[in-house]
């Protein structure tokens, strides 16, 4: 068994506080906030680590925080070590003007479509991806629909006024 603390200590000792901005824990799963350039190196390091064995990429999620200036778009990497049944997340934030993130689809093959999904919905540009095209939406779409500036419902509808419901 490994603990969150061991991973945090190991990463801090190896990469230092310049690359790892901090840690957060939610319901037993620790997240590390890291710089964009180091994300790929850290994921590869955890992948190759003989003790931790984070060989499985469970999920990769894009996220949009419009108020987080300079780091509006985020990527959450969800790693899982089956040897220890331990989960670990890495989070990076990139500015919306230049959302360039290095791809990890060269050693996690399943990241191929996950990154395409994040590109499709959030417009995160995965540098080095072999086939970064829209995947679920039509190719002619010229915006990234999961960003917060696009409201879910038709803005012209009159029957669902937020003010009436105190929203």
């Amino acid at each position: 068994m490994i603990t969150n603390q061991e991973i945090a200590d190991d990463l801090l000792a190896k990469f230092g506080e310049a690359t790892i901005a901090g840690f957060e824990e939610h319901h037993g799963i620790m997240s590390a906030f890291v710089t964009v350039d180091s994300a790929k190196t850290i994921i590869r390091y955890l992948y190759d680590h003989p003790g931790f064995q984070f060989k499985f990429l469970t999920d990769l999620a894009g996220i949009h925080y419009p108020d987080n200036k300079g780091g509006e778009l985020g990527v959450i990497y969800h790693l899982h070590s089956w040897t220890h049944n331990h989960r670990f997340m890495l989070r990076i934030f990139v500015p919306v003007e230049a959302p360039d993130v290095p791809t990890i689809s060269d050693f996690h093959l399943c990241a191929n479509w996950m990154e395409r999904e994040a590109y499709d919905f959030f417009g995160i540009n995965f540098v080095g991806h072999p086939n970064l095209l829209r995947i679920l939406n039509i190719e002619e779409m010229d915006y990234f629909p999961m960003r917060k500036e696009y409201p879910m419902e038709d803005a012209t509808r009159q029957d669902k006024i937020d003010a009436l419901f105190g929203r």
């Binding site: 999920d59 969800h78 679920l136």
Partner: protein, 424 residues
């Protein structure tokens, strides 16, 4: 006759158009000639092909009847669930999860309920957990029955499909007793179930337990050692352990490759640690192994249903969580507090506590995960669903390389790719 055949001169190889890259001419990364220089045929398999169960398009490059490469196009029934969820109160998201893997929607419902309960810190009573287990395992049986019998249909054996369809119908009748719906069940509530397991539901489950083994044995007798079926499936579309891990396989497709990873055992939820069951695994990860693993899982799920029904604890069937659990209708008419909570829940006026949670269950096709991020609003800030089909379907072109078109069809049906879960 034979003289005529021998008079035909063979075609000259290597006389093709297009840029030559290595040995293959490529167009947009897709080969247009085979290795010995013959021109390849482009074949559109889908989007609405009767042999693919759901809307899948694959643009195949064929060398005769052999597939050289395939390019899948997905998203035909994309409904933007993750975006819709950002606007809905929690209880309305349950209906979205129904429509992901619609062959086993109770598992999706329960997975979502457990995610929210984890975030809210609701402790679910033991009886509700057991009822959930019964429903989830019945759903798994229904899911695998459809997958395996459809595999039979695709390889030419229609009889078994109609035969086990009757058993699926009985499972759907148990769903009806529990929640009133059959396919998109919307079963359960945050904190437990919406109603107790009724006498009629118990009777129907007992009846199912009594009659199911004979049907399943006959179904297995028809296919397991069937010469035609074995010829069609053994060695078709094998997946090695490394490939399965690399492509993010989970569920029966992964276990067919020989890795015993199952969420129910790795991180038990909803009292799965109380039950005695095995995890069937395969050896080579081919179509036959996927079929056998699903068959084995049907028997294990059957065992779990039996155990859960026998040892069903007494007690309440839902937790005391008035802010999230709809009060009974009689109470709403008589009791002030119940009326207030009813109104607040239905109008979605109860804020979700700030926090973040990831919870996953063993769905019909593998690890079905919900990553819920809340900023304290009335609906989630972000809900990411880990849909197993979406992740392992990207291995499909790789698995189809070098097989014939008819084998590609049975590889697809043995993977049990559900369009609703793929596109979400």
């Amino acid at each position: 006759m034979s003289e005529e055949v021998s008079n035909i001169t063979p075609r000259e190889p290597g006389n093709v158009m297009g840029p030559q890259v290595g040995n293959l001419a490529l167009k947009n990364g897709v080969p247009t000639v085979s290795e010995d220089g013959r021109e390849l045929t482009t074949l559109n398999l889908g989007p609405t092909h009767p042999a693919t169960h759901g809307i899948f398009q694959n643009i195949l490059q064929m060398d005769g009847e052999k597939i050289v490469s395939g390019t899948p196009t997905i998203g035909y029934i994309h409904r933007a669930f993750e975006k819709i969820a950002e606007r809905r109160p929690l209880y309305q998201i349950t209906t979205l999860t129904d429509r992901m893997n619609y062959c086993s929607s109770p598992i999706n419902n329960m997975g979502w309920h457990m995610t929210v309960e984890k975030l809210l810190g609701i402790e679910v009573p033991k009886r509700a957990q057991y009822i959930r287990v019964i429903m989830m395992e019945l759903a798994r049986i229904a899911d695998h029955l459809i997958c395996n019998s459809i595999l039979g249909v695709d390889s030419g054996a229609f009889t078994g499909f109609l035969y086990v369809m009757q058993k699926r119908e009985e499972i759907y009748e148990i769903y009806e007793e529990m929640c009133g719906a059959r396919l998109t069940t919307n079963m359960g509530r945050f904190g437990g179930m919406e109603r107790d397991l009724s006498n009629e539901a118990i009777r129907k489950t007992r009846e199912f337990i009594r009659t199911f083994p004979a049907v399943m044995q006959e179904f297995e007798k028809m296919l397991n050692r069937n010469r035609i079926f074995i010829d069609r499936t053994v060695g078709v579309g094998p997946v090695s352990q490394e490939m399965a891990l690399q492509y993010g396989f989970t569920g029966p497709n992964l276990r067919a490759a020989g890795i015993d990873y199952d969420m129910r055992v790795m991180s038990p939820y909803s009292s799965y640690e109380d039950f005695d069951f095995d995890i069937p695994v395969g050896y080579t990860g081919d179509t036959y192994d996927r079929y056998m693993v699903r068959n084995g899982e049907i028997w294990e799920s059957f065992k779990i249903v039996q155990q859960a029904l026998e040892n069903l604890p007494e007690g309440p069937f839902h937790a005391d969580a008035p802010e999230f659990y709809l009060p009974p209708k009689q109470e709403v008419y008589r009791n002030m507090e119940a009326l207030i909570y009813h109104f607040k829940i239905v109008m979605g006026e109860i804020p979700i506590p700030v926090g973040e949670v990831y919870h996953s269950v063993e769905g019909g096709n593998g690890e079905l995960g919900f990553h819920l991020i809340s900023d304290g609003g009335r609906s989630p800030y972000r809900l990411k669903m880990r849909r197993p089909c979406y992740i392992f379907y990207q291995a499909y072109p790789e698995m189809c390389k070098g097989v014939t078109l008819s084998d590609a069809i049975i590889i697809l049906s043995s993977m049990n790719v559900i369009a609703g879960e793929l596109d979400a």
